[in-house]
């Protein structure tokens, strides 16, 4: 997954925009930015803190006091929906929603500005059309009481309406501030004409039946994604148009499904692990661990490369977020590796591939999402994910061994046993964290959702007491970043849930089942086709959207043809990771370039050995279920 790292790579045009913004601060945006800061950012940050306390407190009351609190789940769920919507608003303000920039980044700045304006009008169109259904959704829920707290369901539904309205305002301000008046007006007319044409055609569309799926979910969706409309909004807009123009379904189904998609409580682990990832970087836990590994292996040929692989494996087990993992590991190692003669491109290959490899290491956000949308036990996924990543790691170690077999190591000193021991002692609290998290889940201290709070309290304590590195002023930005990242991810989950509903009720799901279960080669054939499909989907759509959209449709088929669902999950996630981190489309690849400060053009020709290693690992995982389910 690429998350906020996507932004630095929306390169040339974005850089131009930033320069412009920096030169003369646009007054409307600056004012709106300040309003958002009070109205949205502060509550979002407070909710992250509240969620930590509620979930941590709930686990404590149940495990330590033997007095479970039945209301914690519901309260956490309501706050979570608000967090997701508030985060999505800030993400829109900061351009942090996931989008495909591969095509538009090649345009000249002038053309790019036109395409961006059209894209932003699409976002505006979706939000504008969503306001009325969101209001209706709210009205429908005023009289309904929540089961446990017995407060009005409107507390939940209001989050969707608030998010829609504030995102609409944000989108409009951004549109008029980034585009010239002519651009904004002309592109608005263009999008409006397109909408009008579709509306006029709607009686004809109703008679087309499922051919509409091609029009809206292939042509329109792919078109939107290609011109850089953030993926969540592309999902939402094509679903809304499909339902409004070719079916008689009431549109309040859209906020309804969005709300449910964003309400799976297990997804609450997403913001909490993102927060934990920020904390381990800030408190110095990550650095202490890397220093120890570097002292241990650094004097070997390719030693630092092995350290990078190992550190990614371990850090991944703490933080749920890929961007946080790469940001914690790469800057600490890259300078020294370059000094020893490692080529820029190879480093990016290594970082990219290790990013893909660690997608299955618990508590990865992708694992949590798979569990929440398919109902596969998250604990099983957490246990099953360790080996597949190890297979990927072994394959990559082979590449490192080959590439560094001639490295000149004469000048590299070997640390004394004493120095090593000292570093180990310093690194111990950091190395213990993944073990603590795993033990807490396996021993039933906390559920997979709650366990992140244990990590957070531990990292805070370790940071304050042992590493004496705890900058209170940095906490607030980390909290807001957490909200932004969660909002970006959850809005996609919400919109994809809506789209999946539209696809299911159209009968497409049943068609997909009959096509996929007729794939020749039985289990293996089905697995290979799925792996291939997810490499492509991961590359074009990114991981989370692909999984949320197709997981609920494909997992039941996997069960039907006799594939263990944990095995299937691992194959699909690994394949998706490979697509995500493989150039030229994979956004993860560009994130790695951004974090390693290497130009994508330099890196691209040199990443293939690592990608090949991952591919071999993927084939092994597909053919040998034992790697995934041998330890369940």
């Amino acid at each position: 997954m690429i998350e906020h790292a996507a932004e630095p790579l929306a390169s040339p045009a974005h850089a131009a925009r930033t320069a412009r913004t920096a030169g003369t601060p646009p007054p409307a945006s600056a004012r709106w930015g300040r309003i958002l800061a009070c109205l949205v950012e502060l509550p979002a940050a407070l909710i992250v803190v509240a969620e930590t306390l509620i979930l941590g407190g709930g686990a404590f009351a149940r495990y330590a006091l033997h007095a479970p609190l039945p209301w914690t789940e519901e309260l956490a769920g309501i706050l979570f929906l608000w967090l997701a919507m508030l985060g999505a608003i800030i993400a829109l303000q900061r351009s942090a929603h996931m989008q495909l920039t591969t095509f538009i980044s090649r345009l000249t700045p002038q053309r790019r500005a036109w395409v961006d304006a059209c894209g932003m009008w699409m976002v505006v169109a979706f939000l504008l059309l969503l306001v009325q259904p969101a209001w209706q959704h709210l009205v429908e829920h005023v009289e309904v009481l929540t089961p446990t707290l017995e407060v009005s369901e409107a507390w939940r539904a209001a989050a969707v309406l608030t998010g829609t309205v504030l995102m609409l305002v944000t989108a409009l301000i951004r549109l008029f501030e980034r585009a010239s008046r002519t651009q904004a007006a002309l592109s608005g007319v263009l999008v409006g004409l397109g909408a009008g044409a579709l509306w006029l055609l709607s009686t004809g569309l109703m008679e087309l039946g499922n051919a509409n799926l091609v029009i809206f979910f292939l042509l329109m969706l792919v078109g939107c994604v290609a011109i850089g409309v953030p993926i969540a909004f592309a999902f939402g807009l094509s679903t809304l148009c499909y339902l409004a123009l070719s079916t008689a379904t009431p549109l309040s189904i859209i906020p309804n499904r969005m709300q449910e998609g964003m309400s799976h409580l297990v997804l609450l682990a997403v913001p909490l692990f993102i927060f934990l990832g920020g904390l381990i970087e800030m408190t110095g836990l990550a650095r202490a661990m890397i220093q120890f590994l570097a002292a241990l292996l650094g004097h070997l040929r390719g030693g630092l490369q092995y350290v990078l692989l190992g550190a990614m494996y371990i850090v991944s087990g703490i933080s749920g977020s890929k961007a946080a993992d790469m940001a914690a590991v790469a800057p600490a190692l890259f300078p020294e590796m370059k000094q020893r003669g490692a080529k820029d491109g190879e480093l990016i290959g290594l970082l990219s591939a290790s990013g893909a490899m660690s997608e299955t290491i618990p508590p990865s956000i992708v694992l949590i999402t798979v569990g929440s949308v398919t109902g596969v036990s998250i604990t099983s996924l957490f246990i099953g994910g360790l080996m597949p990543a190890l297979v990927g790691l072994a394959m990559m170690a082979l590449v490192v061994w080959w590439q560094t077999r001639k490295e000149d190591m004469r000048d590299v000193p070997r640390p004394s046993g004493r120095a090593l021991l000292k570093l180990l002692v310093v690194a111990l609290p950091a190395l213990a964290l993944p073990v603590i998290i795993r033990t807490a889940v396996v021993e039933g201290v906390a559920t997979a959702t709650e366990v992140s709070t244990i990590g957070i309290f531990y990292a805070l304590l370790a940071g304050v007491l042992m590493y004496r590195q705890f900058d209170l002023r940095r906490i607030y930005p980390i909290l807001v970043d957490t909200a932004v990242l969660s909002g970006a991810i959850l809005l996609i989950v919400g919109c994809a849930t809506t789209m999946a509903w539209a696809l299911t009720q159209s009968g497409f799901a049943q068609d997909l089942v009959s096509i996929m279960s007729a794939v020749p080669g039985g289990k293996t054939g089905f697995l290979l086709v799925s792996a291939l499909a997810f490499v492509i989907l991961g590359s074009l759509l990114e991981g989370i959207p692909a999984i949320v959209l197709f997981g609920p449709l494909l997992f039941p088929i996997a069960r039907m043809v006799g594939v263990h669902e944990v095995h299937y999950a691992m194959v699909v996630i690994f394949a998706m990771g490979l697509g995500l981190f493989a150039p030229p489309f994979g956004v993860g690849f560009y994130a790695a370039c951004a974090i390693g400060r290497v130009s994508p053009d330099v890196a691209m020709p040199r990443v293939w050995p690592h990608m090949a290693a991952l591919f071999v690992a993927l084939v092994l995982l597909t053919l040998v279920p034992w790697f995934s389910i041998g330890f369940l």
């Binding site: 033997h66 789940e73 519901e74 446990t148 998250i378 997979a448 299911t504």
Partner: protein, 310 residues
């Protein structure tokens, strides 16, 4: 006039559950009855959404029909969940007398006031029983401090709290792993769910407490139902009723099979005496409290079939 009417039916039952299979059969019969005019599509396994969410969809008109436990309707109509009162129905004869008789009619009527058309015969979801990994439940003393997973239903949370247990709300999707890792000591669901959720893999004991009985109402959006042609309404009404009666027989058979199969897999069954549980609840004021919440009229209707509870 010849255009087909597409109707959507959603349920949380899995595709191979009688609660889905019998409705699929009914859909075929309805197609025949109406000369192919009505196409009722059945979406099992919560494909269209969770149960509370499908209720919203029915009311908004996004889907047409669904079935769900009465306890999922209580957030809209408090009296709907009255059949979930602890240790109310001593056997199935009492259950069907009440649900096909005055109590069912009372609840259907209450649901009609929020624009839900409820079909007359409800589906059987079975009595709920307690499973545990640590010890069988024979008397209320065995529940002391017992961490038990319950769905987010206030009626049942209060029941287990008054029985001295520690009720914990966990979503069903997380239940298996919560039992496996001992986040909770046990759980309570009908036998069919214990089997289909493979909960027997992580539990040792099944105590046939039969503490509540759970049924599924079949219902749709009342205004949309009234707008359907008369003969379509009639066909839906008859076919859903037939489906429900057959489904009840299926469940009776499956319960016996499930118990035999799980015994073979090493689950120890026991059948505790409900009297001490009921007495404890009565002394703790459970029945008095819920009589207040459901209202006297609903409560008297319940006691007409169960005998005095308070």
């Amino acid at each position: 006039q010849n255009a087909t009417i597409k109707l959507r039916y959603g349920t949380a039952f899995p595709a191979d559950h009688p609660g889905t299979l019998r409705i699929t059969q009914a859909a075929e019969a309805i197609r025949r009855d109406t000369g192919g005019k009505v196409d009722l599509q059945v979406y099992p396994n919560s494909q269209l959404g969770s149960e509370p969410d499908m209720v919203s969809q029915v009311l908004a008109g996004a889907i047409d029909f669904m079935s769900t436990a009465s306890t999922n309707l209580q957030t809209r109509v408090p009296a709907a969940s009255i059949n979930g009162v602890a240790f109310a129905f001593k056997d199935y004869t009492t259950v069907w007398a009440a649900m096909d008789g005055g109590l069912g009619a009372y609840v259907r009527d209450a649901l009609g006031k929020v624009n839900l058309h409820v079909f007359e015969k409800c589906l059987d979801n079975g009595y709920r029983n307690i499973t545990s990994a640590t010890r069988p439940v024979n008397t209320p003393a065995d529940l002391k401090g017992f961490k038990i997973r319950v769905p987010a239903i206030p009626l049942w949370v209060s029941m287990f709290r008054m029985l001295g247990a520690a009720p914990t709300v966990i979503p069903f999707a997380d239940l298996y792993s919560a039992l496996q890792t001992r986040v909770v000591d046990g759980q309570e669901t009908p036998l069919s769910l214990i089997r289909s959720g493979k909960l027997y893999e992580v539990q040792k004991f099944c105590s046939m407490t039969a503490h509540t009985w759970d049924g599924h109402f079949i219902f749709g959006n009342a205004r949309k139902f009234q707008a359907l042609p008369r003969e379509v309404q009639a066909s839906l009404t008859t076919r859903f009723a037939t489906a429900a009666l057959k489904q009840r027989e299926d469940i009776a058979r499956l319960d016996v099979e499930a118990q035999a199969e799980m015994t073979r897999l090493g689950i120890a069954f026991n059948r505790p005496d409900p009297a001490p549980f009921r007495k404890l609840l009565r002394d703790a004021g459970f029945y008095a409290e819920w009589r207040r919440k459901f209202g006297d009229e609903a409560w008297e209707m319940l006691e007409k079939y169960t005998g005095p509870l308070v």
